[in-house]
Amino acid sequence: MDLFHQLISGFVVAFQPVNLFYCFLGCLIGTLVGVLPGLGPTAAMALLLPATFHVAPVTAIIMLAGIYYGAMYGGSTTSILVNIPGEAASVMTCLDGYQMARQGRAGAALGMSAFGSFIAGTLGLVGLTLLAPPLAVFALKFGPPEYFSLMSMGMVVLSFLTGQSMIHSLMMACLGVILGTVGTDTVSGSTRFTFGLTELMDGIGLVPLVMGLFGISEIILNLEQHVDRDVFKTKVKGLLPTLEDWAQAKWALVRGTLIGFFLGILPGGGAVLSSFVAYAVEKRVSKHPERFGTGTIEGVAAPEAANNAAAQSSFIPLLTLGLPANVVMALLLGALILHGVTPGPLLLTKNPDIFWGVVASMYLGNAMLLVLNLPLIGVWVQLLRIPYPYLMPAIVLFCVVGSYSVANSITDVYLMLGFGVVGYLMKKLKFDSPPLVLAFVLGPLIEYYFKSALMFSRGSFAVFFTRPISLVCLIITAVIFLCSIISALRKRSLRLVPKVP
């Protein structure tokens, strides 16, 4: 079956009423969590993961994916109207979006953000459609050594790119691997680090961990910072950008899409990093860099295009290699495994309905989001006026009940609260959560591939260095290590140079 027919079969799956409904629900919830600061897409996906146990795997992934890319759309609304990013990937949109709103051009900023997101998201999907099948075929050559090296590389790249300190991020990754080994060892059958608790025999749940680290910790952090959310009092009108706006923003959209697409594929990339890079590149290539930060349309178009293209392209390594590029994809990997589906190169041949159904639903979801974000902008503006003290108790309750309902286990709730406190301390002490979660999800897989590779080579570590793909991954990992060490030493030597008065 050729690509076109496979995509059509995906649309047949996506157009089934139940899938259409869950796609809409995911986009709606995604927009909601994007608009409302305090609960990001990761926590929202973890919260709703138990709710998907009652539906088919393809339906579940369609909804969870919708939350992710929906949040990318919604996050810009808060950035433009309140100057607070509703979602981390919308930080850069604040800079020019809010200034445009102050100048009475909120409508144009919101319009460009929505249209830019739609165009970039759709182009990202075309790239995903074209690139994923050949990559999956290539990934069939991968054995345990390649997977081990690739996953190790992914963790190191993520630690390098996301954290403020490489040491802190790698520490979190090690902790994540250790937490991932809690429970029964599938090979030997012995229990590890369970402290005699039968509830821990199956390991620590992904939902309590993510809810605690991303949901409860954020709530605790907000207890010590009073956040004012004054919605900019301007009438949102003229949502269609003018021809002049389009002329100014067209290349920013193209560059943003390309940057987002390629950074989204890389491990550790994703929506947040790509929006920062796209903004920086746009400012660098602009003839008037001084206009950035004062309300220029390119400053809205580039990061919005980048974060949406990245949101789509980050599905490529997950669906073809089984390798999550960022923490949200790690959660989706966990969701697929919980639903009994193994992501990777065989997903295309064994579960084509899931692969193509999810891809096709994303085309539909992008169109739905355009409708949700432009004509319904007034609804989201009203939602932004809900004071935080009204939202906070509901978020706490959703986290508690959500983590309980996964396995009807009170232990999971205690764990989630514990991780919430740990997550708060991590944020205060500048330790990042994403490497921990990624390592937690990848830990059991890394262990499996590591052991399989060693058993296959009868205990020889040379197996990781004699196979080309594995070797390339390990070389990249080593280069990143060296780069971070050199960078740290350079920073230190610069600090030690005495200042000339």
């Binding site: 300190s165 790698l170 012995s190 590890r192 609260l417 205060k428 058993m455």
Partner: protein
């Protein structure tokens, strides 16, 4: 560092196996050793850093008390699930959160608590079929 050493010790008890047949303690031990080495590097980095170069965001006593209180209430709330059940304990928790974290008027507190509780119960218990605890106290009186 302490955590890493504890994990390494426990991994040793679990058994490393051999390179050709790694045991259950093999990977946790490697991860613990890496964690200990990184913690050591971090410690050295902190010691060598000039004082006052990068002041981190500190902890204020008032915030610690507020956070400690909310966290303690959350743990107590989960303990109460078993005793007085989900509905009663959740209503009490919501009253606390709506009233004490950012003081709202009592009437607003009761209405908001009732609505939030009803919405959560309908969503999780009725629609998603979660078995929320009824509470031993009520079960005792009913039986």
């Amino acid at each position: 560092m302490v955590l890493a050493l504890a994990v390494a010790a426990e991994s040793g008890r679990l058994g490393f196996g051999t390179f050709g047949r790694p045991g259950p303690g093999f990977l946790p031990f490697l991860a613990a050793i890496c964690l200990a080495a990184l913690a050591g590097a971090g410690l050295i980095q902190t010691v060598l850093k000039k004082p006052g170069v990068e002041a981190g965001s500190g902890f204020r006593t008032a915030d610690i008390l507020r956070i400690g209180l909310v966290t303690a209430v959350l743990f107590a709330y989960v303990v109460l699930w078993d005793v007085i059940g989900f509905l009663s304990s959740t209503f009490l928790l919501l009253l606390f959160l709506f009233r004490c974290v950012e003081p709202l008027r009592w009437r607003t507190v009761f209405v908001a608590s009732g609505l939030t509780l009803a919405f959560t119960y309908i969503l999780f218990s009725v629609l998603l079929g979660a078995r929320l605890p009824a509470g031993r106290l009520w079960t005792y009186f009913i039986s």
